[in-house]
Symmetry: D2
Subunit: 423 residues, 4 copies
């Protein structure tokens, strides 16, 4: 009598995560999924917004819960009958879509040259414990989950719900990141958004009355990118992570990096030849292992690696100036000035240009006309059509070293001031 | 013109943390304080409440902000004139009160035999960078901050605000832990509570009209202990942390533990003789370093340490049964049954008895009678006087191993069932 | 395709009120139910907590929505199969339980001598439009709804859900009144409370793991009574409402009250002989009609009625002093002093003694022991057993008139001071 | 000791309204201000969003509190020294800016031909009790408050804070209306918006870092208009209010309206000649008096007035169809079809065209360039420049009567269908 039929997990965003299928419970308990507790959802953003210490574990549960609600809505209000296997496919894909993330993922990906989606698929196919659970449905299931995530799939509607404009991934992360950072920017009407969604054959459609709700949701995305995800301070701390990895990689290659912790060593050998990175080595690296390696780098003999590691550990971040035009000529001048100031430009000068479309890459949002036809909402919505791009175009540098650099750094200081005025 | 006079940090609990003193900003930027980003506020609670991944860094900022509000209220509404030095003393003590915490602090403290308060004081006195900032006020300041925190102080009112019944530490953590776990239990009327507080000479007093507000606040504490802090699952994961440390310590002492990571090694040598633990070794250990050490223990040759480390890493926690009476006789029976089942009782049988007073150790809450006298509110409040103790009294064990233990574990299984029925 | 199967109403407490039965929609659209928009949920509380301007209409929708969730939980998690008619009975009873309320209901009831429950039943039986909708289920349905509300019923479990310790009425009003007043006191874990409820044969049972949740919910009730519902200012404004009605009633009886608005006149004739109050006359009186009558009373020739009406209209409320013992002797002294001060004690001296049990009248809360038996949770919970009563025992009076009363009011002022000191 | 120096009022939006000036407290206690408790903030919106039952009283307190925060920010962070009189001027103007509202104000204004701003000024100048309080500052103060509200003032910065793009009126109502309706659309970062505001000489300026915050705030306005303020159902219930007043006015002029309640009668005589409406007659009409009059109209002999009054009282609202082009020819056809259907087009056919600029009438938002110059943010922000207008262009009619109108209404039904298809 005490036992109720669903398990629940308390959640600050959705109040409860409701697990009604033992299969989902088993997926949650795999070590691949539990590992996400050690990968922060927003990488180094916690150095800008101190509250944002949450992990991909909590987000993945939230994406699952959102999918559960979408599926329930489709079934209750539109007579959608996906069948049991397809329903589990939707839930599993939502739950597992982020398992391929590495430490400070978006920060590190440019160094490894590998995107997390690839690792998600590989783990689905090859990681023994996870695969065993998935195979209990049937031996095509793991492949179908991978397909729903990548888009090479017979279930295009499910793929849209994972990575389309109206996907459960974004719905959860906007609300979750807004809550944990403490900003109101990511708020939107989740329940209403779900209510205006209609299951099409291959795409999500939106009821005519849902126009405003979709606009609000797209704007929540726009504001979160502009105010949180692409915050200049975070772009700089992400850069710092890359500079550390690149410096350590170089030193290791040259054989001068001593006492590399085993988990780092396995992972860094994979950096040299990504194809050779084993599943164990990949899973062995996470935010905790990364952070725990920093004190060692700080004490390494290399002054640059030592300095960079200390910066991340103790939050002594790079400063930055906006740059209007980053031409080869400008780059040459910058490198020269850094060298003259006694600062290695490879480790200390970092130009970053990130730019995203305010409207989410212009993928269509299909709006029902109420009469059986669909139009792309972008063609109707003046607001969405005009969402501006959000760009960061800045040169990062160690402000303290530049400041204390004396005469040698004088021309660098002058250059930074002039760049700033143009930027 | 762009520069405003106060810095603000966005915070999900208080909206903004307001920093108006450059001195406070410098304290925040010390490595001792930044380290708190790597110590979780609620130890292993995130294994029970997945949202509770926040750090002592965020809580310490929140305690500071609460103190700032209390001081402002005292000054505005009661003409309190602490003077600049005392005002900074209050703020600094609130900010720094938790710097002495180690990894999964409350979990590990019983093993190290050292309480975090002692380390807080030692760091205030001896850690060079922090001390330099504090000495900029004057060379008695560090000692005065320590005194306010420990209570051996000429500023008893400030000490009450740090660790009394109505202290800024508890005010922040109840609200913060409630938000991050997602439960409503810790909610109380913070602004109203501050408003009913009166600065006495050596103690915090409460206005007569504040009775209910104090009761609600004390109940928030009661519910958070009962529902979150002493959750049986968390008590069990804390126990697991201790079992790992104890096993690793024993193996290291016997010289059979290989490849101990340097930061662990320094810290564990301190476990042998706490007095010898250096500041560097203490600061070197945090949650990240602890977690990053687990894969190594998992791969160590010792099957017990390997199993325990894997349990924490992949959340394969102990189960438990309530125990009515834990007598030497019961203990003997339990140990025998574990041995018979092939399970080392030192590592696998864990009896835990935690008990706290529902009313916060009966310290008085001074209520003004409106006519210049004070009474202890506990003598008036039927509700507070009767807040029951909250106790956990359970035997923890690896449910899976007991289940799969075959005939050898039969009598252990029987014993656990009988204990459970009595408990 | 545009049409989804459920209607929703946006709600600040539950986010959405979900209406899936056309029958419920028809009940909402009756004029009896729509009238609740003109009856405030908290009577004159808005004069104390300015935000509390919400109506019984919103609360009734919220009680319905809570019942919908409870029923869904019982059906999903406990295999409860009430059948369609019983399900509608539960929903209709929750929706309609408050239709019998009059203006400033709890304030006025002592004057009319009629409780709202009686009127609810009468409307269910006799109001033509409402009855027609109910009869569409079957001709016993109206009577069954009445029975569920009063308790003389074959559906005791449903009655418990309407007016037991764990009822949907209280669940909604605690959260709603907390939101609109702006206090945190009424917050509790609604979804969790519903989850721990088990459908018994004639009573609601609670799972063993729900102990804390029930305690928190009972305390939310305790705090809301102590801080909001029995706020001395509100008790005083409620008294003022009664004084106005009593004075107007007396003047009308004496034939000196001119230009009585028709809706007031019909209603007041009912006050003389409650049995004669027609349904139309009852429904014709609401908060708006009551308030719209005040300017007329203010301009009436009677100085007392004029003064009282102006006090309510412009919020010039009575003051009060606590009274330790209200004996016939004290009453005599008070009346004499009022007369001497030139103030009619019938209209200007108001002693009020309200007292409620902190635990909700000691009705049992049935806690499952997990083994098929139930115990009364009050016998287990130290906290609930000791919830103190909440009492208001005060003498109300027009502070301004007493103050400006010159020598004649001197002894009254003295008496009030002495009462206050004893109280 | 019990007495603290500020009074506070609990508020669901701002937590506390803080009153530190006895002068403000006296303004709150005037009957002109207390009357705002009987004027709903959102007119008939509660018939669309049931939670929106809040009054202009709560909003006015919120506008005051927001002004208090803005002034405090200007003084603390920008060394603004307005002087005591100017500070009180800002607070009083914020508090009193809405006192001139009548019943269902925006709905009724087109009938009376008088805008609430005019009445606000008249009350400030002429209402005796209010004027006496204002004169206590000095005898120019009332006029200065009026000037700040209308804009004919020597305090242009204060006027901007009352009715500019970044004004405390809008800041409060967006958050308050969002809370009470239960929608997320009106949320924005209030504290951050205040922080980025700079006091200019005659205008509010915005720090460069405040771009996003301003955009979010302007979008909150856009969404609230689109989703709440111009909701077609509310536009229709506002129309119904006007139709009632117009019908009653006509009947009264013709002398066929009997038993007009005195407060209505005084007010309606003012409708005939607005210049003659006395202050007492104006103040005597509020939402309560309006609603309390409806049952009388419902029972009046006039079938049209009776029907209209019943519609508002029992929420039997008009339906509507979108209209693409409302030409004289279309109007003629519509009127003819109504007449043919036996429905008086003056009372039953209501074409409404409301249109607002999405960007708040294109008034500039001045953005600091960080170097002492200001640019109009509209020229920079692609988002704001492209905010589309929000328009309602619909024909309203009594759907039930049209439906039940038999053959006579056939051509009307056909016309409505054809209009709807074009619209």
């Amino acid at each position: 009598m005490e036992q109720v039929k669903e398990k629940v997990l308390k959640d600050p965003v959705h109040n409860y995560i409701r697990v009604r299928d033992p299969f989902i419970w088993r997926l949650i308990n795999t070590r691949v999924f539990q590992r996400l507790r050690r990968i922060r959802q927003l990488g180094t953003s916690f150095l800008t917004f101190h509250g944002a210490e949450h992990s991909r574990f909590t987000h993945s549960l939230g994406a699952y819960e959102t999918m559960r609600k979408v599926v329930e809505h489709f079934m209750r209000n539109y007579g959608w009958t996906p069948g049991e296997r397809t329903r589990l496919l939707a839930l599993a894909a939502a739950l597992l879509h982020d398992i391929g993330h590495g430490p400070f993922s978006h920060a590190v990906e440019p160094v490894t040259g590998q995107r997390h989606e690839g690792w998600t698929v590989r783990l689905l196919r090859e990681e023994a414990e996870l695969r065993a659970v998935l195979d209990d449905v049937d031996d095509r299931f793991a492949e179908d989950v991978a397909g729903v995530i990548t888009g090479e799939t017979d279930f295009p509607l499910l793929h849209q719900l994972i990575t389309g404009q109206l996907d459960v991934d974004r719905m959860d992360y906007l609300l979750r990141d807004a809550l944990y950072t403490g900003v109101a920017y990511g708020q939107f009407e989740l329940e209403r958004l779900i209510r205006v969604m209609i299951p099409g054959r291959a795409e999500v459609l939106v009821r005519p009355s849902g126009r405003l709700t979709v606009e609000q949701y797209m704007l929540a995305r726009y504001f979160m990118y502009a105010q949180v995800y692409l915050h200049p301070t975070t772009v700089g701390s992400d850069l710092l992570v890359r500079k550390i990895v690149e410096r350590a990689k170089m030193l290791r290659r040259e054989g001068v990096l001593k006492d590399v912790p085993p988990l780092w060593d396995s992972w860094m050998s994979g950096l040299e030849d990504p194809g050779e990175l084993s599943i164990e080595a990949f899973l062995g690296m996470d935010d905790a292992v990364f952070l725990a390696g920093l004190p060692g780098w700080e004490r390494s003999g290399d002054p640059i690696l030592s300095d960079l590691a200390g910066r991340l550990l103790h939050r002594r971040l790079f400063e930055s100036v906006p740059v209007a035009e980053w031409t080869p000529e400008v780059e040459r001048l910058v490198r020269e000035a850094f060298v003259q100031a006694g600062l290695d430009p490879d480790s200390y000068a970092g130009f970053v240009h990130v730019s995203i479309d305010g409207s989410g890459n212009r993928e269509p949002v299909w709006l029902s006309d109420g009469g059986g036809k669909w139009v792309n909402f972008f063609e109707q919505s003046v607001l969405l059509r005009n969402l501006p791009p959000i760009a960061v175009k800045r040169l990062y540098f160690p402000g303290d070293l530049v400041e204390s650099g004396g005469d040698r750094a004088a021309s660098l200081r002058k250059l930074l001031v002039s760049l700033s005025h143009e930027g």
